[in-house]
């Protein structure tokens, strides 16, 4: 789960991490009032749950009230990677003389939280990682030791030369790690972390992502969630035990298991088709789940064919077949369906399907090819 910059910085503030003075605004008038209150110059920043706001023109420095008004007009309502900008953050303009990157995330390899820091702040860290990997210092954190003072100091000495900054940095790293643990974060990032003209560290930007699996123990964090329409659909699907991600293609997929679902999409692509979604119906096979899944697929107007690929393991194919037949009895489906059942009780399942006068295919490759053929017929 992601939250907005201003929300991340509110959390930072609660842990006494210095952030810019700033006000969230929903209209141009509010932006002007905020600029008045904070004093010029101000920075107007789109608050959307997508990266690359700067490049998309979603961040503007305003040195005059007119510029602030203009920035607000331009940014509010703008579309950034499919997200409409509904609010902006108006932040005091700060003079600074250097920019750093600090981020905490999970490191799969050391199986621990890792702190990444770089003197090349202000740019996207992925770009630094690609172009100049040595510029990123990485410190895996021993889970037993935590971010102890000496360890935080060690990192700070690696990043800063001025001792006052070392002390501020060590303090900051300890707080960031505490935030990470306290909130079950998956990412806590300050980019850029700047050194102001007064020699103080200040978080100019802030980013936090959270571990979805741990949200249940953080209702306060969960309450910050602002899903888009697509994400709402995904969340609804999740409530029904389905994992659904909408894509751009026209072949609706229903598969059990995430890996098999991805592989099914791959096979469709391989034969020149375009999957309309990722849909993992998981291990159970109740009729209701199949109905929910079918509804999801049919609610996407781009879907011209449905391809069902089930590998019965613990899931029995006859159960899925029963579910599918019940589903079809209860709903109107006016597009073709390609069905492939394999694994546990596949024969029984296939018989149920063919008794219902639906065609079946024998392999995943065949299913994909047939689905593509049917889509091409429709078009």
């Amino acid at each position: 789960m992601k939250i907005h910059e201003y929300q991340a910085k509110e959390i930072f503030s609660r842990y006494s991490i210095p952030v810019t003075k700033e006000i969230v605004c929903y209209s141009t008038d509010e932006v002007c009032a905020a600029a008045e209150k904070l004093g010029l110059p101000v920075v107007v920043k789109a608050q959307v749950l997508a990266g690359g706001r700067g490049k998309a023109g979603g961040v503007k420095l305003a040195r005059t009230m007119d510029a602030a008004r203009e920035a607000a007009d331009q940014i509010l309502g703008m579309d950034i990677k499919g997200y409409t900008v509904e609010k902006v953050l108006v932040a005091e303009g700060v003079k600074f003389n250097s920019e750093f990157y600090v981020g905490l995330t999970i490191d799969r390899n050391t199986k621990s939280v890792i702190l990444m820091a770089s003197a090349e702040g202000g740019v996207e860290i992925e770009e630094v990682a690609k172009d100049n990997p040595e510029a990123i210092l990485k410190f895996p954190i021993d889970p037993d030791l935590g971010m102890s003072p000496f360890f935080a100091r060690k990192i700070a000495f690696a990043l800063f030369s001025d001792f006052s900054l070392v002390k501020q940095g060590a303090d900051l790293f300890q707080k960031l790690y505490k935030i990470f643990l306290d909130t079950d974060a998956s990412l806590v990032e300050i980019n850029p972390l700047v050194v102001t003209d007064e020699g103080k560290l200040l978080a100019l930007d802030g980013k936090m992502n959270f571990d979805d699996n741990a949200l249940d123990r953080h209702p306060d964090i969960e309450a910050l969630n602002e899903p888009t329409e697509d994400e709402k659909k995904e969340l609804e699907a999740k409530d029904s035990g389905l994992t659904y991600i909408r894509l751009e293609g026209n072949i609706g997929c229903m598969v059990n298991g995430a890996g098999l679902a991805m592989a099914s999409m791959d096979v469709i692509k391989h034969y020149g088709g375009n999957p309309a979604n990722f849909l993992d119906i998981g291990g159970s096979s109740s009729p209701q789940k199949v109905i929910d899944a079918m509804n999801l697929l049919l609610s996407d107007k781009n879907v011209k064919v449905i391809m069902i690929n089930i590998f019965g393991g613990i899931t029995r194919c006859d159960d899925v077949a029963h579910g599918l037949v019940s589903a079809l009895d209860q709903m109107k489906v006016d597009i073709p369906i390609v069905i492939r059942l394999s694994g546990t009780n596949a024969e029984e399942g296939l018989k149920i399907i063919s008794d219902y006068n639906l065609p079946t295919v024998k392999s995943l490759s065949e299913a994909a090819q047939e689905a593509i053929r049917l889509v091409n017929q429709v078009n």
Partner: protein, 291 residues
């Protein structure tokens, strides 16, 4: 021979009396796995389908000599259950539970490492050594004893691969589902080393996914340490960036973790990568010079 589980496996099932636990315990027992104990706090002293139930893993291990534990408890309790197993002295823990908070896994994997206990999962289908022990939720009937070792980050895709292998007459030594979570137990490297050291395993199938750099690291490890033939498949070749495909790991972040990169890493060291699942048995046969 085989790796991790075999006829000597003495299994304790944590959460045996729950819905999933009881269902899969029956399946594993039916397959022939030697299940010696179940654990369910408050139900100690009961006997479920001939299996004695204990209040704690420690009691179960002390009484039955269990050396392996499989975990079916709800995700919020799974991290603690893993540590309980580690504390009780089993050698191997398999955690099936899905949705375990990552920081719980950071704590649990660190604890088990200190105790010298191996972990598979969480959020994994478990593992099987055909005809010896099924420890997980894999469908036993698709497996066949043989000499192909298999490791995978996904469940049903594994089943598909195994069926293809079995249909092609290629049996398996051990098949391990390592799970798709950000922090998990044994990973490609450790399993590659075990298969390399296992005399029964003659070829290895590695099924990877988009996201992270585990496959790239595995490729480096193969280059340095594995002499047996390895073939690979990467799921998510068609996945768009920035979307999580079910597994927490299956997400492409900008410019890394793509299928292309992973495929390139394997091919650079001479590990053939199947573009379609159906090609896997062909690649194995070619590697083993069969037909």
């Amino acid at each position: 021979m085989s790796i991790l589980v075999n006829k000597n496996t003495k299994l304790v099932v944590q959460g045996m009396t729950g819905r999933d636990g009881s269902f899969h315990t029956a399946k594993m027992k039916e397959y022939g796995t030697n299940i010696v104990a179940g654990v369910s706090p408050g139900k100690g002293g009961q006997n479920v389908n001939g299996i004695p139930v204990f209040n704690t893993v420690e009691d179960a291990v002390k009484t039955t000599g269990a050396n392996t534990s499989i975990i079916f408890v709800p995700a919020p309790l799974a991290g603690d259950a893993i540590m309980e197993a580690g504390d009780a002295g089993v050698e191997l823990v398999i955690c099936i539970s899905e949705g375990v908070p990552t920081l719980d896994m950071v704590k649990a994997t660190n604890y088990l490492k200190k105790k010298g206990v191996k972990l598979i999962g969480a959020n994994c289908p478990g593992l099987i050594t055909p005809d010896e022990a099924l420890v997980g939720i894999l469908p036993g009937n698709i497996f066949k004893k043989g000499n192909v070792g298999l490791m995978s980050r996904s469940g049903t895709l594994t089943y598909l691969m195994v069926s293809l292998l079995t249909q092609a007459g290629l049996g398996q030594s051990t098949c391990v589902g390592i799970g798709g979570d950000p922090v998990a137990g044994l990973y490609y490297q450790e399993l590659l080393q075990m298969f390399q050291d296992d005399p029964e395993t003659e070829a290895i199938v590695l099924i990877g996914e988009i996201g992270g750099d585990a496959e790239e690291r595995a490729a480096q490890f193969i280059k340095d340490h594995v002499t047996k033939p390895v073939v690979a498949f990467i799921a998510g070749q068609s996945a768009p960036p920035g979307k999580r495909m079910g597994h927490a790991g299956a997400i492409i972040s900008s410019g890394s973790g793509t299928a292309e990169e992973k495929i390139a890493a394997f091919e650079a060291i001479g590990v053939p990568v199947a573009r379609l699942p159906i090609e896997i048995p062909l690649l194995i046969k070619k590697a083993l010079k069969i037909d």
